[in-house]
């Protein structure tokens, strides 16, 4: 295992360097005999100038590589020496130079065009090795990667021999005198090895596919990296370029379907909306977000994004991401101890690659298509029919707006208005990203600027983002390294249909859906139509939906701006061989500003704006966090025993402050400032005399502040014997300021072992088995995702504690929460067993894991008796949740000839169960329930059992709200069966109403005994299937996502499927009627005595779907063509997102996401989510 040694020596910090050395090593090992010639000859006239001072051989070779197009191939072990060179070479040819520097060594060199092989062997002798082969001919060709870029340095070897060559800078190769029945092997580190039969051909062009989960891949494991082959925990990795295949504003959306066991729940179509990530199910009833770590900076368990939230991660430019590694099991996350109980997402950004200047541009533009017809609302005349019928059924012979309704029914053509169309539009995205990287032996850098702009499907909603990144690494001598990471980011977000005093994610949408289509949007002057502008017959009818949504969307402002600065500085010092001290200080500073503005308006009857006053609210918050991280790493090899130990300390402090001011009494729209003239309100009597002057209505202001700290000590030991038996042991001690002094510290240990069965002697004979590793791990981690200062008692003051004396506000306060000094960490225990199998030289890779995760000591408010009379409930560590699951990931290279075809498949299943809750009491939230023995956030309601067709059925069923004459001695209602007239049907349960199942058969339909869990908001299993096909410069990739065994409570239907003066769903056209029985749509009635709208299976639907999530077609322009204009690569691509969905769900979009804040306890309910739409993208990637 020579490669491994090279890793150890080469400090291992710069990923690229390491890979490059590996590549060369591999090249040399394979190219022991060079028999062919590269097709092109290289000018020998190149002259070198070298100035060597105390230089090592490797440095010199590097310098030559930089100055010229030459590149060297060598075995690092052979050329490694402490010998130093001094002297000068001026205008020397390459052979002269090499003679000079290799003099006195046992090394020799061979120049083949631009490639120079340095070795101890005499290549001339080896050349003869293949000379006696029979039936020989020559073959040539070109090797590209999947993007169509030519690949230099690929080893092309005749299988079973040592004959081979390395491709030149153009990716070309040529081999002479090889057998016609030979097989060529093409290999390159980081790529899948491919084979091709010569079979008489003279040209073989090959496209190499990247090795996605190759065992030599390096993965981030927290405070360091490990090779995948040595990893004993459960870690999923996604490369940056794979992420970028889906154009999305925020990286978590792009993670969707890329890693088994990582569920990505789309937020919504709101601009900037992220997605919620659940690693291995829903562990707690609190914050379930994984820990995000970006370049070593711990961002915390930030909410990825429920509906309407703008993801904090959207501040990162996805193009800057090198890789994302997701730590899934406790043995992997334990290094983050108490912070990573819900998994950890480690994001590594790109760094300079220490070679020539690399400039690239990536830009795209996208449109989001909205299909309005999918809402299924009624036309105006249909509404009139339904409404008149409902009024008639309700016994209202004379109702508001009746003449108007009658005119419509009589066939008068009264104009209708498209409120939905006025609110919504097709969305647009544009994104531009420019990056520059480069450097030299001492220093390298990566810098990028990006601009992103998304216009949402609701008018005037948009998100704009600017980012600037600068990462650099520097070396001083061979022992000291330092560098930085920096991101400056700004986003501007105009929210619409999000929040304005209420959870309004969906509110605008369901408001416009339900507005009466006869209600004009504008009056003849072009201003927004008020209640007084309409047909006189319709007075009082058209404005039941009393906010003018279009006015709100067009005129109100709800603007957020976020600035974020992440920056860190690190230093690495190799104290002695193998012992590295690493220190890092970092700062995460962000500010958020919001500016909410509601101008005065003159829309009559607009309840949302009852006068001509303007309301202005401005607020800002600031959060500053610093980290200090110090680690010592020691790596040591003693014979076949490899040790690596890590010892670390980390501390963190965050301070948060916020301030807001608002005033709703500006007299006109001109005032955008609080420093307006002093206002007074005069109160006049009937004669107009001023009888009282009230003081100016004051600005309301408020602020908040908190601070939190962590201190952590941690250690990790990695040991392996011959790379065969692996062990990782971790322990972390964490302290958090959130807990009382006695419970502040927690200890979180973990251990995992691995056995690479394929390395055993008895397995060596199995040629198709490339790698097989068994992993077993167990660990304890924690979570402190709870608000600050919860362990103390609390004094409530102001607001609801105030009162009025002497006509002025009196300030009140009292004890409003009891203390709980025993508050402590939530604890997560997880066991994991995994198997990694790699078959047929890595053409098929399989990773499978089973896990068992228990989250206990859940931090939940205790719900004490109301009689205690406390404002807020004390919290305790009560409750436990279990998640068990299985994950499978398969990567397969199906075809590797002219066409390359790879397939990735992942499958995840999680079984969630609540083991206990505070007082074992159910936790209700509207439609959801969390109940012991069941899943978190299950859907709960009555079971609708068809519709009563006649009075006999009504009076023979259990009591819902039938007319009752009296109650018997057991409090059982006695029906008055004589009541079958219309008046009865208006007030009581009647034919046409839903029949609900009497689950406990006690004769009464009651909420206590006749509701049950009717659905699940957690899928039984999910899968993803992606395929990539490439042929020459063209590539096609597409992937499907499948979600099964999940239900959606379509709450939007519960708003639209009842008749009222606003518009309703077209299903009402098929409502139950004496002459037209229906078993699904109840009778039309204005009131609802039977409560047919109650939460029941009536509105429950399957949320299963299979979705063609993404299709991407990319074309790389031929390199000959683009070379003329100085480009290295030019790729054009088109992408379609959410193109096809197979689902029975009747709502707009089965991917409904989580409610604001990402709360799983309210999942699975569709309130008319701002939908994910189809997106079409056109983009270009250019590299210079």
């Amino acid at each position: 295992m020579k490669k491994k040694q090279i890793y150890g020596v080469w400090y291992g910090h710069t990923l690229f360097k390491t890979l490059r050395i590996m590549r060369l090593t591999l090249g040399l090992l394979l190219v022991l005999v060079v028999q062919g010639w590269a097709t092109k000859s290289y000018s020998q006239k190149t002259l070198l100038n070298l100035n060597m001072k105390n230089a090592q051989l490797l440095d010199i070779l590097d310098a030559i590589e930089k100055q010229t197009d030459y590149y060297f191939l060598f075995n690092y072990e052979q050329i490694r020496s402490d010998k130093k060179f001094d002297g000068q070479a001026t205008n020397k040819k390459i052979d002269e130079t090499l003679d000079l520097i290799l003099k006195g060594t046992d090394l020799t060199y061979t120049i083949k065009d631009r490639q120079i092989i340095i070795s101890k062997e005499k290549l001339g002798l080896l050349q003869e090795a293949g000379s006696d082969l029979q039936q020989q001919k020559s073959i040539s060709g070109k090797v590209n990667d999947s993007s169509g870029t030519s690949l230099p340095g690929v080893s092309v070897v005749v299988k079973g021999t040592t004959i081979g060559i390395i491709t030149d800078v153009e990716g070309n190769y040529s081999l002479a005198n090889i057998p016609t029945n030979a097989t060529l092997q093409f290999s390159f580190v980081g790529m899948k090895t491919q084979e091709a039969q010569v079979a008489g051909k003279t040209t073989i062009n090959i496209t190499l596919a990247e090795e996605a989960i190759g065992i030599d891949e390096v993965v981030a494991v927290g405070y360091g990296t490990q090779k995948r082959r040595d990893v004993t925990g459960s870690v999923a990795s996604v490369k940056g370029d794979v992420l970028n295949e889906i154009p999305a504003p925020s990286l978590e959306q792009s993670l969707s379907g890329r890693a088994a066991g990582v569920q990505v729940i789309s937020g919504s179509g709101t601009p900037g909306s992220g997605a919620t990530i659940r690693v291995r199910g829903v562990g707690t009833l609190n914050n379930n977000e994984p820990l995000y770590v970006i370049d070593g900076i711990i961002l915390g368990n930030i909410a990825g994004g429920g509906q309407g939230d703008v993801s904090p991660l959207s501040l990162i430019n996805p193009n800057d991401i090198e890789s994302v590694d997701i730590l899934k099991d406790a043995s992997a996350t334990a290094i983050y101890g108490a912070r990573a109980g819900n998994g950890a997402v480690i994001i590594t950004t790109k760094r300079g690659k220490g070679d020539k200047l690399n400039v690239s541009y990536d830009g795209y533009t996208a449109v989001n298509k909205l299909d309005q017809s999918r809402y299924g609302m009624m036309t105006g005349p249909e509404w009139a029919q339904v409404y008149a019928k409902a009024q008639d059924n309700s016994g209202n012979s004379d109702y508001t707006g009746q003449p108007f309704v009658n005119r419509i029914i009589a066939g008068e053509n009264i104009p209708t208005y498209d409120w939905v169309g006025e609110l919504m539009q097709n969305g647009k995205i544009q994104s531009h990203n420019l990056s520059v990287s480069g450097g030299n032996e001492e220093s390298n850098y990566f810098t990028s600027v990006s601009y992103f702009k998304q216009d949402g499907i609701v008018n005037n909603s948009d998100l704009e983002r600017f980012t600037l990144r600068f990462n650099s690494d520097h070396k001083i001598g061979s022992k000291f390294k330092f560098g930085n990471t920096m991101l400056i980011s700004r986003s501007n977000n105009n929210k619409r249909g999000n929040t304005y005093g209420f959870d309004n994610t969906t509110d605008y949408l369901n408001r416009v859906l339900r507005v009466n289509v006869y209600k004009p949007i504008y009056d003849p002057t072009g201003y927004y139509a008020g209640v007084n502008y309409h047909d006189p017959d319709a007075e009082g009818l058209l404005d039941s939906e009393n906010s003018h949504t279009i006015w709100a969307v067009n005129e109100m402002t709800e603007f957020d701006a976020v600035n974020r600065l992440w920056t860190s500085l690190y230093g690495d010092l190799e104290i002695i061989d193998g012992l590295v001290f690493h220190t890092m200080g970092s700062v995460d500073y962000n500010t958020t500003k919001y500016h909410n503005y509601r101008p005065s308006n003159k829309i009559e009857g607009n309840m949302g704006s009852p006068d001509e006053k303007t309301r202005l609210e401005i607020g800002e918050s600031e959060r500053q966090t610093w980290f200090i991280e110090n680690t010592l790493t020691y790596t040591k090899k003693i014979k076949d025993h490899n040790f690596s130990a890590l010892l670390g300390y980390q501390s963190q402090n965050s301070k948060f402050t916020s301030f807001y001011a608002l005033d709703g009494s500006f007299e006109n729209t001109d005032y955008w400032f609080f420093n307006r003239p002093h206002l007074k309100t005069e109160v006049k009597d009937a004669e107009g005399n001023i009888i009282m002057t009230l003081p100016a209505l004051t600005v309301v202001a408020g602020n908040n502040e908190f601070e939190e700290s962590f201190v952590s000590l941690f250690g990790r030991l990695n040991y392996d014997y011959k790379g065969k038996y692996l062990l990782t042991a971790t322990v972390r001690r964490d302290a958090s300021s959130k807990f009382g002094p006695d419970y502040r510290w927690g200890t979180f240990p973990a251990m995992s072992v691995g056995w690479r069965i394929s390395e055993e002697e008895f397995m060596k004979g199995i040629s198709w088995l490339h790698n097989m590793k068994l992993r077993v791990g167990y660990g304890i981690s924690g979570s402190d995702n709870v608000p600050n200062y919860q362990f103390t008692s609390e004094v409530g003051s102001e607001g609801e504690f105030n009162y009025v004396f002497n006509e002025g506000e009196a300030s009140g306060a009292t004890i409003a929460r009891l203390a709980n000094n025993a508050l402590r960490w939530e604890e997560i225990k997880m066991g994991n067993i995994g198997l990694d199998v790699s078959l047929f030289k890595g053409r098929i890779d399989i990773v499978a894991d089973v896990f068992d995760k228990t989250t206990s000591d859940l931090f939940l408010p205790y719900a004490p008796a109301f009689e205690i009379g406390m404002e807020s409930n004390p919290s305790g560590n009560l409750g436990e949740v279990k998640n068990k699951g299985f994950e499978l990931g398969i990567h397969s290279v199906n075809m590797q000839r002219k066409i390359t075809w790879t397939t990735d498949f992942s499958f995840s299943t999680v079984k969630n169960e609540i083991v206990s809750l505070p007082q074992n009491a159910d936790r209700f939230s509207n439609v959801n329930i969390s109940r012991v023995g069941e899943e978190i956030g299950a859907l709960y309601g009555y079971v609708a059992d068809g519709i009563f067709q006649n009075w006999d059925e009504v009076y023979s069923h259990a009591y819902q709200n039938q007319a009752v004459s009296s109650f018997d001695e057991n409090s059982m209602p006695i029906y008055d069966k004589t009541k079958t007239d219309k008046s009865t049907s208006i007030s009581f349960t009647a034919p046409g109403d839903f029949r609900y199942k009497d689950l406990n058969e006690d004769g009464i339909i009651d909420s206590e005994n006749d509701r049950k869990i009717i659905g699940s908001s957690i899928p039984d299993f999910t899968w993803n299937l992606s395929n990539t096909l490439s042929y020459k410069g063209l590539s096609l990739s597409f992937y499907f996502q499948g979600v099964h065994g999940v239900d959606i409570y379509n709450s939007l239907r519960s708003l639209t499927e009842s008749p009222n003066s606003g518009n309703s769903s077209a299903v009402l056209l098929n409502a139950w009627d004496g002459e037209r029985p229906s078993n699904t749509i109840p009778r039309l009635l204005i009131t609802d005595p039977n409560n047919n709208m109650r939460t029941s299976t009536r509105f429950l639907e399957s949320g299963d779907y299979i979705r063609l999530k993404n299709v991407r077609i990319a074309y790389n322009l031929p390199s000959l063509m683009i070379k003329k204009v100085g480009m290295k690569q030019c790729q054009l691509y088109v992408t379609g997102t959410n193109l096809l969905t197979f689902t029975d769900y009747s709502g707009y979009d089965p991917e409904i996401g989580l409610r604001s804040g990402g709360d799983n306890e309210t999942a699975g309910v569709d309130f008319g989510t701002y939908p994910n739409t189809r997106q079409y993208t056109l983009g270009v990637k250019i590299t210079f």
Partner: protein, 503 residues
């Protein structure tokens, strides 16, 4: 570094150290009555919607009180839960003061008594509301230190009344004679509250000896001459009557105990001091007409029909379809019952005008600064008359004087001795206290809701006033315990008649 204190406020351990803390806790105890949108915020309106006066003009799902007018009230109902929960929160705030204030150093006896008097009164009023709504309820008299596993069974209504009376008697002793600032309680307020407690308690507990106690207590308050009806001889009866509900003449001679409200700038961020009650029960917003209600409460056709047109209180209490709206003497338009922007507002019937701002004063963003009367002098006079009548079956001369004072102020004829029965006094209460969240308690304690609701149907000309068909006396005269309260307190057991409940 790990020892961090909340910079925004003290913890409980730092509180109740100074008299200033006690003062704030007393304010918070008053605030308990208007906490959020509870009680005198909006909830009390639900008690009007279960009377023969009002129905809900909005949808059934528009607030927890949406189904109350239909008597679709279940243990899960959020308004019902609010009543229970917020009353106990208010009680705890009083208990905090009662237990902690005496332990505070440097507090004089006078001021301690003053503080304690106020919170004993408040606690009594809160238990009174609890027992009126729920009947038997748990009685908690001190704050608990350990919430875990806390459970408490109910006390009988008789015991609850005993506690209420004990608290009020103590408050009578401790409270000052005159308020330090407007809105504060005084000793006579406790006496007046005792009148109500004895009178209602006499009906509720069938404890007829209390009628006389109520009568005596009422006479004590009347004879103190501390209160008077608003009755300026230079003004019309209507003008006098409506002045009680003027936002600029609050805490007048007639106010005994009022929930104080203050418009805090038009933004409903602090609904504790600017409330929704008057808004909630008033007709729908119309800016031109200076009408700013939420349109939850509308008046039944029957109430309009039964209310004597010669009663000047009727015109200023109600909006009736076609009525001209005058603002500063200028006609601004017409009240249109048929054009209310509420789905369930019925063309016949009317709206409540009583809490309307006749002043040319722009209200802000749907907040009223009108105080709400818990007891006013007219109420006390009527209770006096009723207690007098009930004590021995005959209305005495003193009782008749009280009744006639109220009628005369309203510009109505005096009744004469021997002609007055209880129904006439209850009707007088209905019109005098229309919309003031008193009607339900009168129907309930006299068990006369069935008869009242029968008249609704009788008077309904267009067949839409069928709401009260769902009323069943044996259930709704005492509401069920909220389901959440049952879930959290294992010793609280649902009433048998509510043990099986349909939704």
């Amino acid at each position: 570094m790990l020892d961090l204190q909340d910079p925004t406020g003290p913890t409980g351990a730092d509180f109740f150290k100074t008299e200033r803390d006690v003062e704030k806790a007393v304010v918070a105890a008053y605030g308990g009555l208007t906490n959020g949108l509870s009680l005198w915020g909006e909830d009390m309106m639900a008690l009007e919607q279960i009377t023969d006066n009002f129905y809900n003009g909005s949808t059934l799902t528009d607030g927890g009180h949406g189904t109350w007018h239909l008597f679709q009230i279940t243990p899960q109902n959020s308004t019902l839960t609010d009543f229970y929960r917020y009353l106990y929160i208010a009680i705890n705030r009083a208990n905090q003061v009662i237990v902690n204030a005496p332990l505070v150093d440097g507090i004089t006896t006078t001021s301690l008594n003053n503080h304690l008097g106020q919170v004993h009164f408040l606690r009594a009023y809160e238990y009174f509301l609890l027992t009126l709504i729920f009947g038997d309820v748990p009685v908690i008299l001190e704050p608990t230190g350990d919430p875990a596993g806390y459970a408490k069974g109910v006390s009988s209504a008789t015991d609850v009344y005993d506690q209420i009376i004990a608290d009020l008697k103590l408050a009578e002793q401790l409270l000052p004679g005159s308020p330090s600032e407007s809105g504060r309680l005084v000793t006579l307020a406790a006496s007046a509250m005792l009148v109500k407690v004895y009178l209602f308690g006499a009906d509720e507990l069938k404890n007829t000896s209390w009628y006389q106690l109520a009568q005596q207590k009422a006479e004590q308050v009347i004879n103190s001459n501390a209160y008077a009806l608003v009755n300026d001889p230079s003004k019309t009866p209507a003008e006098n009557f409506i002045e009680i509900f003027s936002t600029v003449k609050e805490n007048g001679p007639e106010d005994i105990f009022s929930i104080q409200h203050f418009n805090d700038g038009g933004i409903r961020t602090n609904s504790n001091i600017g409330t929704g009650y008057a808004m909630a029960i008033s007709p729908r917003y119309n800016k031109n007409l200076n009408v700013f209600g939420y349109g939850w409460g509308y008046v039944y056709e029957s109430a309009i029909k039964r209310w004597d047109n010669n009663d000047p209180r009727k015109d200023v209490s109600l909006w009736i379809d076609g009525e001209k709206i005058f603002l500063n003497g200028v006609s601004k338009g017409t009240y249109k019952q048929g054009s209310q922007q509420r789905p369930n507002a019925r063309p016949k019937g009317g709206g409540l005008q009583k809490f309307w701002w006749a002043e040319n004063f722009k209200s802000n963003n749907a907040i009223s600064d009108l105080n709400m009367k818990v007891i006013r002098y007219a109420d006390l006079l009527l209770m006096h008359a009723e207690a007098d009548l009930m004590a021995d079956g005959n209305l005495g001369a003193n009782g008749l004087v009280s009744l006639n004072k109220v009628r005369n102020r309203a510009g109505l004829n005096s009744y004469s001795l021997g002609t007055v029965d209880r129904k006439m006094i209850l009707d007088e209460r209905r019109w005098e206290l229309f919309g003031e969240a008193q009607r339900w308690f009168d129907l309930m304690r006299t068990r006369t809701a069935e008869q009242a609701f029968a008249l609704l149907l009788e008077d309904d000309t267009d067949g839409d006033d069928v709401d009260k068909n769902g009323f069943v006396g044996e259930r709704y005269y005492k509401m069920p315990y909220p389901q959440q309260a049952l879930d959290r307190n294992p010793l609280l057991v649902q009433k048998p008649v509510w043990a099986r409940t349909a939704e």
